[in-house]
Structure formats: structure tokens, C-alpha cells
């Protein structure tokens, strides 16, 4: 039988160490909404989302009450809209009307984000893909809850450099279109390599075409819990360190699994996956950088950081995989800058640069995330950064992503405030040497040799 110490341990994790379930994300297929008439398509999309997700928020609250565990976000992901809108949309403006429909559906269901305003163009772009991508700045400026992502490469297909070049421009345009809000639109736009079909985390969530009609995915969290556990093993060997992380990850994941199963049963929608990511928030004590500090580097970015992060990421997976048979999504430690107080401190102290962050993304999910750069950064430089990050994903057969925010009107050292879970960030310098001759080459980078496994 459960004893008092175990009960106290769980409740301390929740009350003092910020243990929560980060998100229940309901994936909804919109393939059966496809229609060549735009108005009809929009109506069908709205009806499908609002009926399927009708109870999502109430069910989330019920589970919170039953277990006294906060479920921070309830969210929806949908089939990439470039596919859903291809038959009806003739222009970027047509796609923007779908973005507005998604926004309305999000408001109606009470979720705080809806993801899937996406295009999958790792090998080539259809006319619809290109129209959707070109509509992103306008779509993100005209909506509140919509998140957008574009997959521009994969290990199997290589990197679509035409899309990479275009995304550099689109990110700049999005920054410009939302400059009144410190270019907030870019915080809701991710560029991916090897994007997973079942990621529950925003801004990159979409409901892949390989998925069922509707599915419940859950993202867990808990950097604070791992950090507190590690405080008790200071100076111990790597074996003890790794064991502690594994055991903690197991416990965190078990809670996620419980919540996922409950949500699935209450909604009558199948359970998909648990995403094992350690997702930080700007709250004090909920930081991945603080774990790295506890492992032994003064600031994230100091020599040893990449090794410490590799170890952390691997142990989190090992513990989590033991706790749930269906692990998916991104599953790893996130290292966003603005959403992690320890990362912000590291940037301010001069310990962490864009280049070191890039190195760190080689060993963890998911990529260059929530990094504010000067608004004057050239589109070609952004494309160059994207290409670098996509190459890391392609060669290492892992998901990588870029979520950069060129803050219009601000420069290195200034602070940008996004609010809420998105946090705030000091603007980081970007290497200013030119790469436009590279980025301007048309076509794609071929798939790497180790992708030929057949």
C-alpha cells in the first residue's frame, strides 16, 4: 500500500517543484473536411474542430481536480492546412481565411493554442504549399491562437533549400507584420527538419496524415523535479547522477501516462503518445539550464555543457521509456532561451552564444528555440541559420527546429517581452558575415548516404 512518504514526495513535486502536465493536445484530422468551395471548407473545419474538442477543456479540469496536478495547457493540432486547403485555396489570402476559422474554433473550445497551419515541403513545394507559406505573416498577424510550422527537410529527402530561402524571408515578414507586439508572430512559427507527426508541443504541433481521425497526445514536464532530485546527489559519481535522473523521469512520465489514459477514456478518443520532453517555463525553479548548473557547469554554455545536456537527454529518455510503452513526439530536453530563466541568465552573463546553442541542439531536442535576434538581421542570414540547423537534423536522423524572432526596431542587449509561457529574452548577436551566395543557390541538398537503408 502507498505510504505517507511517497504521498508527500508526490505532493512536494507538485507544490514546490513545479511538477505539472504541460499539455493535453488533441490531434484532429481535417482530411474529411476537404472541399473545393472555400466557404464550405471553412464551415466544415469549424464544425469538426468544435464538435471533436467540445469537452477537451472540461475534461482537463476534471483530471486536475481528481489528482491535484496542474494541466497547464489544453491544445489542438490539426492536419497540415496546406493539404486541407489545397483544393479550395487559390491565393495566400484564401489560406488566411482558414487561419481565421482555426482561431475562431480555438476561441470556441477554450484552448490556448491551435497548431497545424503547416506545410510539409521537405522535398518540394506544391502551389498550395507555397501559397500557405506566403500567407503565414498575414495569418499570424490576423490571429491570436494559431501556430504555424513548415517542415523543410528530412533524413530521407534531404533539405529543400528553396523552402529554406523562402522561410528566411517569411520569418522577416512575420516579424514586420507583428512588430507592434515585439514581433510576437515569429514565436508561433517553427521551421523543422524531420518533424514528428504526433508532437503535442507548440508551436510545432500538427496532426500528421499517418494518424487516426482523432488522438490524445500528452506532453509532460518537470525540470524543477529533476533539479531538486539532483541537489541530493551533489559530488556523486556519474552512475549515481544518471540513476537519479532516470528514476525521476520515470515518475514524471508515469503521471503523464495516467493523465493521457484518463483524458482518452473521458473523451472517448484513443491515446496516442507521451512526449517525454523536459519543457521549462520562465517560472523560477522550472529551468533546464538550472539542471545543467546542478550537474556541474556554472552557466549553460560553459565548457562541458554539451556533454551534460547529452547525458541529461539520454537519461530522461531511458527513464521515460520504462514508464510508457508509447513514447513519441519530440521527447528530450528543450532548450528555449526566452522560456527558461537559467538560459536567460546565461545569455546575460555572456556564457551562452547562438553558436553554442547550435552545438547543444546536436544532442537534445529540439533546436534553436525562442531566440530573439536583432530586427536588422538579414533574411539570408536567417536562412543560413535554418540550413545549419536542418543539416544537424538530417545528418543525425533527429528532429531539429528553428524558432528565431528578429525583433523589429530592437538590437543586441535590449530585452523583448512576450508574456506568459513565452517569457522574455535578451536579444542575441548573430554572426554578421554574409552567406547569401550559398542560400541563393536553387534546388535542394541531397539526402545523406546513410538514409539509403532499403
Amino acid at each position: 500500500m502507498i505510504n505517507i512518504w511517497e504521498v508527500n514526495e508526490t505532493n512536494e513535486m507538485i507544490e514546490k517543484e513545479n511538477l505539472d502536465v504541460r499539455t493535453i493536445t488533441l490531434g484532429i484530422s481535417l482530411l474529411d473536411c476537404i472541399d473545393s468551395d472555400l466557404e464550405r471548407l471553412n464551415r466544415k473545419i469549424y464544425e469538426k474542430i468544435t464538435s471533436t474538442a467540445r469537452d477537451l477543456v472540461t475534461v482537463g479540469r476534471d483530471i486536475e481536480n481528481n489528482y491535484c496536478i496542474p494541466i497547464v495547457n489544453k491544445r489542438i493540432s490539426v492536419t497540415p492546412i496546406a493539404l486541407v486547403g489545397a483544393a479550395a485555396c487559390r491565393s495566400p489570402e484564401d489560406f488566411v481565411s482558414i487561419a481565421k476559422t482555426l482561431d475562431e474554433a480555438a476561441k470556441k473550445t477554450g484552448v490556448n493554442f491551435i497548431g497545424g497551419y503547416s506545410a510539409l515541403v521537405s522535398k518540394g513545394m506544391t502551389a498550395a504549399d507555397e501559397n500557405l507559406i506566403r500567407s503565414i505573416p498575414q495569418a499570424l498577424a490576423a490571429t491570436e491562437f494559431v501556430c504555424s510550422s513548415v517542415n523543410v527537410g528530412s533524413t530521407k529527402t534531404g533539405i529543400n533549400m528553396d523552402a529554406v530561402r523562402l522561410m528566411g524571408e517569411i520569418i522577416k515578414e512575420t516579424a514586420e507584420a507583428t512588430k507592434e507586439k515585439d514581433s510576437l508572430g515569429c514565436a508561433k512559427l517553427v521551421v523543422f527538419c524531420n518533424a514528428p507527426d504526433d508532437n503535442p508541443f507548440m508551436a510545432g504541433a500538427f496532426h500528421g496524415v499517418t494518424e487516426a481521425d482523432a488522438v490524445v497526445n500528452v506532453g509532460v514536464s518537470g525540470p524543477g523535479v529533476v533539479k531538486t532530485a539532483l541537489e541530493k546527489v551533489r559530488g556523486e559519481s556519474f552512475e549515481v547522477l544518471c540513476e537519479t535522473i532516470k528514476k525521476t523521469a520515470f515518475k514524471i512520465t508515469r503521471v503523464g501516462q495516467l493523465v493521457a489514459k484518463e483524458a482518452s477514456a473521458k473523451l472517448g478518443i484513443p491515446f496516442g503518445i507521451i512526449d517525454l520532453s523536459l519543457a521549462p517555463t520562465p517560472a523560477v525553479g522550472d529551468s533546464v539550464a538550472d539542471i545543467l548548473h546542478e550537474i556541474g557547469v556554472d552557466y549553460a554554455g560553459a565548457p562541458g555543457t554539451t556533454a551534460a545536456l547529452a547525458l541529461l537527454n539520454d537519461q530522461v529518455k531511458k527513464g521515460g521509456i520504462m514508464a510508457s510503452s508509447y513514447v513519441g513526439g519530440l521527447s528530450g530536453a528543450f532548450i528555449p532561451v526566452s522560456e527558461d530563466q537559467g538560459m536567460i541568465d546565461a545569455v546575460r552573463a555572456g556564457a551562452l552564444s547562438l553558436e553554442k546553442l547550435e552545438a547543444m541542439t546536436c544532442v537534445c531536442s529540439v533546436g534553436l528555440d525562442m531566440i530573439a535576434v536583432p530586427g536588422s538581421t538579414k533574411a539570408s542570414s536567417i536562412s543560413g541559420i535554418i540550413a545549419d540547423e536542418m543539416a544537424i537534423g538530417m545528418i543525425n536522423q533527429k528532429t531539429t527546429a528553428v524558432r528565431l524572432i528578429p525583433v523589429i526596431g530592437k538590437d543586441v542587449g535590449e530585452i523583448v517581452e512576450f508574456g506568459g509561457l513565452l517569457g522574455y529574452a535578451p536579444i542575441m548577436p548573430v554572426n554578421s558575415f554574409d552567406c547569401s551566395r550559398f542560400v541563393d543557390r536553387p534546388g535542394r541538398i541531397p539526402a545523406p548516404v546513410h538514409s539509403f537503408k532499403n
Binding site: 505510504n3 504521498v7 508527500n8 489528482y67
Partner: protein, 94 residues
């Protein structure tokens, strides 16, 4: 067949005063909640109790009982929390 159980864990934490257990147990008895196990300690002057209870015989809903216990806690000056057992079971057992 044995009747099915509906197990929950009640935790009471706060400054120790006379009659905490009595008042909590009275509430549970009045509402048809059966106590299966109690453990209690005092940690540096703080009262710390855990009860495993069976709510199968309760007439009120889990949410109502949980809210009323929370209210009772504020009257006594302690924090009372009511959680379904599975969260502990899943976290601490393989």
C-alpha cells in the same frame, strides 16, 4: 463478488491543534466515506497526516467532497487535499 472500491488519498498538513483528526473523521463518517488506513507524524511542529479512504459508499461526488474538505481545512487552519489514489500508485510502483 467483493464490492468495488473507489480509493482516494487525503492529506492533511498544517499547524498541530486539538481535534484535527476528529473533525476530519466526523466529516468523512457523515458522508459515507470509509477510512482504510491512517498514518500520521509531526514534522518540526507540523501536523502531517495521510488517510487512505474508500469513497464507493459516498453519496456526494468526488469533486464536491474534495471542495468541502478544502473548506473544512480552512476552518481548522490546515491544508486538506483529496486526490485519487492512482497518481501515487503509478508514480511509485512499477
Amino acid at each position: 463478488m467483493e464490492p468495488t472500491m473507489d480509493k482516494a488519498i487525503i492529506t492533511v498538513v498544517g499547524k498541530d491543534t486539538v481535534g484535527i483528526i476528529a473533525r476530519v473523521c466526523t466529516y468523512l463518517a457523515d458522508n459515507g466515506v470509509n477510512v482504510l488506513d491512517i498514518s500520521q507524524t509531526i514534522v518540526s511542529g507540523f501536523f502531517n497526516m495521510m488517510m487512505i479512504v474508500d469513497m464507493a459508499g459516498a453519496e456526494k461526488s468526488f469533486a464536491d467532497i474534495s471542495a468541502e474538505m478544502d473548506e473544512l481545512g480552512s476552518k481548522i487552519g490546515v491544508s486538506i487535499k483529496c486526490q485519487r489514489e492512482e497518481i501515487f500508485e503509478k508514480m511509485h510502483r512499477i
